[in-house]
Subunit: 750 residues, 2 copies
């Protein structure tokens, strides 16, 4: 224990050491160790590291990205960790030239690097910085009329079609928001667009929501959101090595074979530029849902009066990426790993995204190192990872997870992720059998602004927002907040380094961070995501950086040292039951909507309703939604609920008094239980994604779809798939329930 | 019958004349007369009249306003009506000088007359036109900091208070929308503001909703909405003669005694000007609900950094106003009057508001005149009124109604009103025992765009919007649209010439017009509400002007010639029962909200929820809502429902075969039945308003409050009043039910 531990903490430790039951049974967290951990967490450390790591552009392939990896390696080693850098050679394009200009009605050059702003000390350091660009677009040189497609989501294309507008042979201009960037580009391509522009409308993160940078933290007119448009819904990671690690000697696809690379040129744009283009557009006036915050009347465009020239050329060579992997060997269960990660690559300086989370992780690593020096050792192995190449689409973590898949499936207990972190409230998503554990930790971490637990603050915020009708609390969260019950955690889709662990390997994961009072979205993926912005607008003093460290630190310590990792399976079962209810409602709603649409079409209601001067066609007619066989899945969910409750009850009663051998058998059964939720064949159209409960939505991108094989099949009218995946999911849940029954047998026999 | 009536129509007439039962029983509309009427309705007439009447500024006191009255008089006489102009001398201020300028951070002159725009042929005719001004503000000269109060409604002041901002000693700047203009000025004054500016935010009716005039019909940056800010919620009409006609010799109040005149200077503003002011403001960032469409970050202001100089001086002399009153004496029941009106004064050229409705009314008058020349005579007396001085707050109709109160209460069957009219769907509000009649008429009028009945088009639009989730149909309207049942009509508050008839005299009224596809709101009360705007954007060819004439014409003809005016009292009873349900829910919701608020306050939820860097205080604490005694009112509603259903059933069975004497007695009982809904003492705080079922809301302005004595007392926490008015309302409904029982007795005895 470090010097910071005071007498009271030492007393606490003594009390715990006297604990009940056999020597290997620990019934609660070791609060003295946690206090000692907290004492080593320092916001001023984090400020120093953040300033250094965000001082130069640090995108994949940049000098400073590699320097950050090497600096991190040195830190881990200095703190007593066993650490190394693991490299992969991945396809990562960088722009050779980007061009976007208005050709008609006047010639006007747009685009180019974001300018420096006063008071932001790194915004002038643009040597070697990426200009506005989106990775994995398809190089090209096109000149065409422009169509405004709103958010560029499927329903937007429906709305366009009903107004007689399409993007075939044209350039689609979409605003950021409502769905993931890559989906916008992919859908534009699928609808026949020859190019795509994605711009940041001020209604989303600009002047409409707050004063713009540098006066405030919101997006300034010249700010551009870079990003990746890789089709990660098919698979993330290196496009040339799906499913395997991009290590030396791996057989790689030709670039032309890589389906996750787009075929059309795409560029991101500032609203300062976009307004010049949108203001000139003609065609029908955009429907209300298409209207953003620019001081113009939004038109759908499509005519020859406004034409844009868009040209992108990239260097498609392989680049080396640098994952820093550090470990502390477990004293008792060295082959049970708790993995914790955060990426280190940014789009430019990446101060908030990802370094705000990365420096919190470094604080944890320093604190764990300090504990080591007091003689403490974790019972399980702790692996910390500072990933590279998350931004272009989770390459660093995916390639590592694919490379070490077998070992991870055998050894990993959980993967805990963070990314950007800011001032505000705790948000957690992940595997629901860990929900109660998350709540236990959140009840023990103090919110620096209000001095109540971070869990209680979430409850208070939920209740106050619901009272003021300013929030959209989901029903379960509201109920939990009213009763003081566990706060539900969200489901995970994709969009950060947890993806391969959860979606491909079937490991439990948690993803967490603080936020909601920060203004990170105003500079997201722009040149202005800087140290100055973070300390002025996102997390002054990195107070919440330290809070994140204390939160994750407790998770790591408690899992590392628990007799049996702290899962509660009835939470998972109840959550899955809720998902099934949603899917049933989806089918009912779809069926009712189909019937209603047909009645209204027969009545001519849409024709009679529309304003003939601005006609809107009737809704598109799809094959009707049939009844879907879900009885087997419903029965499986019931079985799961019973087994989960039985196991949880038995563990509560007898889990503290297991013999070491019984515990070893129990833990072995539970360690791989989540992998039973995978299907070898993968999800329809995307076999890399194997999880039957959680996935990123094919048409939401980062956003999660739960029971994805069933739900998406209904949404996309692949009704045969719905029944196939209902059966697969039922089988998986029954296997999961059987595993719990087997675990319960160990408790019963004991 | 006119020449246009063809052989088929003549046949129809013959069939009807052969009808069933005694000679005075007409069971349905006289379709031949209606066809002859329609044949006389001409859009080209209306175009010609509209062009002439809107050729010069025609506000109260202008030369052209008087000329329009005289021209209308001449037309009525030429068409065979007995007509005269009735004048009143009312207090009507006109601006001597208006000044609004930014003083800090820079001096910048704002305001002044709206400029001419190309393609709008009258926008240069500004000699004698009113500059931007609001009537019945209080003259003054103030310089003060500015606070942005959103819509300036009560909840906006609550939101400001929770953010530590108030308007005491400051100038409130409110945007148009969400509530009536005059309420914004009154609330600003009540909250201690020394001045008030009301501007048209582009999110409401400017570029955000459509291309601006003259490219499109939406409000251009320089467009200003004039209007009245008289406190008409206390009483409308001449401020110096509440409750009595402003005729010669009437005792008038001193201006200082007139409580409906504001005490602080108020001016309206364009968004082209407002943005200069709002962009400079500081203070807290406005909450999301306060954000409009300007390309700025909205701040609440209040600091000394932005100061405005506002000065208004008016000529407060009495002005003469000119109501044109025309009549056709009834052949059988000359003392039973159908009154129909539309005002003729505008704010500048007033082409849409009010002349689009006025010329439709003129077409009806011309057609009725033509019918007269064929020998047709209405059985009841028809009175047509072209009102003056509606704009400053319903002076022309109010003074006339007050002057002739006794005669109107004895003779009027109904008052039918229109005002602006445009392309689109029929909208009707009024007294609910006329709801079925309105539906019968709407089923017989053909929509010019779709060739179905205007009723069916409303149903189709309701269903299509509900399917597309673009509309907010109320449940009853949606249900009616699904089943083909009667479309519910809305309740009336105030805001046009029906007010004195309904609210003060207790006469049945209907108010109707077409719209929803027009762009009248874009030029509402501005210089650009012109003939050119109407024919380009609101009702090209005045096709819907003719449709309005045909709709109201049917109403007038059918009521004039019916044996017994076509009311259905069970609709009224069902509607009142629905209002009572709403009031009960209001009480329940208030009680639940009060309890929840106190629990959250005790928990400190609001304190814990708020971002300490932008703190929002807890909700204001009010005395808790108690249980309110509504049993007597509920019993009265049940009695009303029974009596109404019994009467309607009896009339359906036996109404066609009454003896003339029985019918005379029946009609006499029904003619004044609505007056039983008045209370002599008037509503709390505003005795001029005497109706217990319908009133404009004290805090909504034009918007209706139903069961106002009870509902508003609960909303405003005058709980004693709620019980007093529940009793008064119950008594009124029982008297109404008893009257129906007496009418039913006549049918039974017959």
């Amino acid at each position: 224990m470090g010097k910071a531990a005071n007498a009271k903490a030492a007393l606490f430790l003594a009390t715990c050491a006297m604990g009940l039951g056999p020597a290997d049974a620990r019934t609660g967290p070791d609060r003295a160790v946690e206090a000692a951990f907290d004492a080593q967490v320092s916001s001023s450390d984090q400020l120093e590291w953040l300033k250094d790591m965000s001082s130069q552009p640090n995108h994949v392939g940049s000098l400073h990205d590699r320097a950050n990896a090497e600096g991190t390696l040195a830190k881990f080693r200095a703190w007593g960790w066993s650490a190394e850098i693991e490299t992969f050679d991945v396809l990562y394009p960088t722009p050779i030239s980007t061009l976007v200009e208005l050709v008609e009605p006047t010639r006007l050059k747009l685009g180019g690097q974001e300018p420096a702003v006063p008071g932001d000390s790194t915004s002038g350091n643009t040597a070697g910085a990426l200009p506005p660009y989106v990775a994995f677009q398809g190089d090209g040189d096109v000149t065409a009329p422009v169509v405004y497609v709103n958010y560029g989501m499927p329903e937007d294309y429906d709305a366009l079609e009903r107004r007689g507008i399409n993007v075939r042979g044209k350039i689609a201009i979409a605003r950021y928001g409502a769905g993931w960037r890559g989906l916008k580009a992919k859908l534009a391509q699928e609808h026949g667009a020859v190019g795509c522009i994605i711009y940041s409308d001020p209604a989303g993160d600009g002047f409409a929501v707050g004063d713009v940078y540098p006066k405030g933290g919101a997006r300034p007119p010249q700010g551009v959101q870079r990003g990746s448009v890789m089709d990660m819904m098919t698979y993330p990671g290196d496009p040339l090595t799906p499913g395997v690690g991009a290590i030396k000697g791996t057989k790689r696809l030709d670039r032309a074979q890589a389906v996750t690379i787009l075929k059309i040129p795409v560029l991101p744009m500032s609203y300062g530029d976009a307004v010049k283009l949108l203001a000139a557009m003609d065609g029908p006036i955009a429907p209300a849902s298409f209207r953003g915050g620019l001081p113009i009347t939004y038109h759908l465009g499509g005519g020859q009066g406004v034409r844009v020239h868009l040209a992108v050329k990239s260097d498609w060579s392989l680049k080396t990426i640098y994952d820093v992997i550090a470990r502390i060997e477990g004293s008792t269960y060295p082959d049970q790993w708790i993995i914790r990660g955060n990426h280190h690559d940014g789009w430019v300086f990446g101060a908030a995204d990802p370094l705000s989370g990365n420096v919190a992780m470094l604080s944890e690593a320093k604190a764990l190192g300090a504990l080591l020096k007091t003689g403490w050792r974790p019972r399980r192995t702790i692996v910390y990872a500072s990933w590279d190449a998350e931004e272009p689409m989770i390459l660093g973590s995916t390639e590592w997870a694919e490379t070490h898949a077998a070992e991870l499936k055998a050894k990993a207990i959980i993967y805990i992720n963070s990314d950007s972190n800011g001032r505000g409230l705790l948000g957690v998503e992940g595997s629901h059998e860990w929900q109660h554990f998350v709540n236990e930790v959140a009840a023990d971490v103090i919110d620096p602004e209000t001095k109540v637990s971070v869990a209680d603050r979430v409850r208070a915020k939920t209740l106050a927002d619901a009272f003021d009708a300013t929030g959209h609390a989901d029903e379960m969260l509201l109920k939990a907040s009213e009763t003081g019950a566990d706060i539900p955690i969200g489901a995970l889709g994709s969009g950060s380094d947890f993806s391969a662990f959860l979606d491909h390997l079937g490991l439990p994961v948690l993803n967490l961070g603080y936020g909601g009072e920060d203004e990170i979205s105003g500079v997201y993926h722009s040149l202005y995501d800087s140290y100055d912005h973070v300390v002025k607008f996102d997390d002054p003093g990195l107070v919440y950086g330290a809070t994140l460290s204390k939160t994750v630190g407790r998770m790591v310590l408690r899992i590392a040292d628990a007799d049996t990792p702290p899962q509660r399976f009835s939470d998972f079962a109840a959550t899955v039951a809720g998902y099934l209810d949603e899917v049933r409602k989806l089918i009912d709603d779809r069926r009712a909507q189909d019937v209603k649409r047909d009645v209204l079409l027969a009545q001519g209601a849409f024709r009679l309703a529309t304003d003939p001067q601005t006609p809107v066609g009737p809704p598109l007619v799809h094959p009707p939604t049939p009844f879907i066989e879900l009885a087997e899945l419903a029965n499986a969910v019931e079985t799961l609920k019973k087994s989960a409750t039985a196991y949880d009850t038995a563990y509560s009663a007898r889990g503290a008094t297991l013999t070491p051998e019984a515990r070893r058998r129990l833990n072995a059964l539970l360690q791989t239980i989540d992998q039973l939720l995978l299907t070898d064949r993968g999800l329809p159209l995307r076999p890399w994604y194997k999880h039957l409960i959680y996935a990123p939505g094919l048409f939401t991108g980062y956003g999660a779809k739960t029971l994805p094989g069933v739900r998406e099949a209904i949404e996309e009218r692949r009704f045969k798939d719905a029944e196939i995946y209902a059966k697969l999911t039922a089988d998986a849940l029954l296997a999961y329930a059987a595993r719990l029954d087997a675990a319960g047998d160990i408790l019963a026999q004991h």
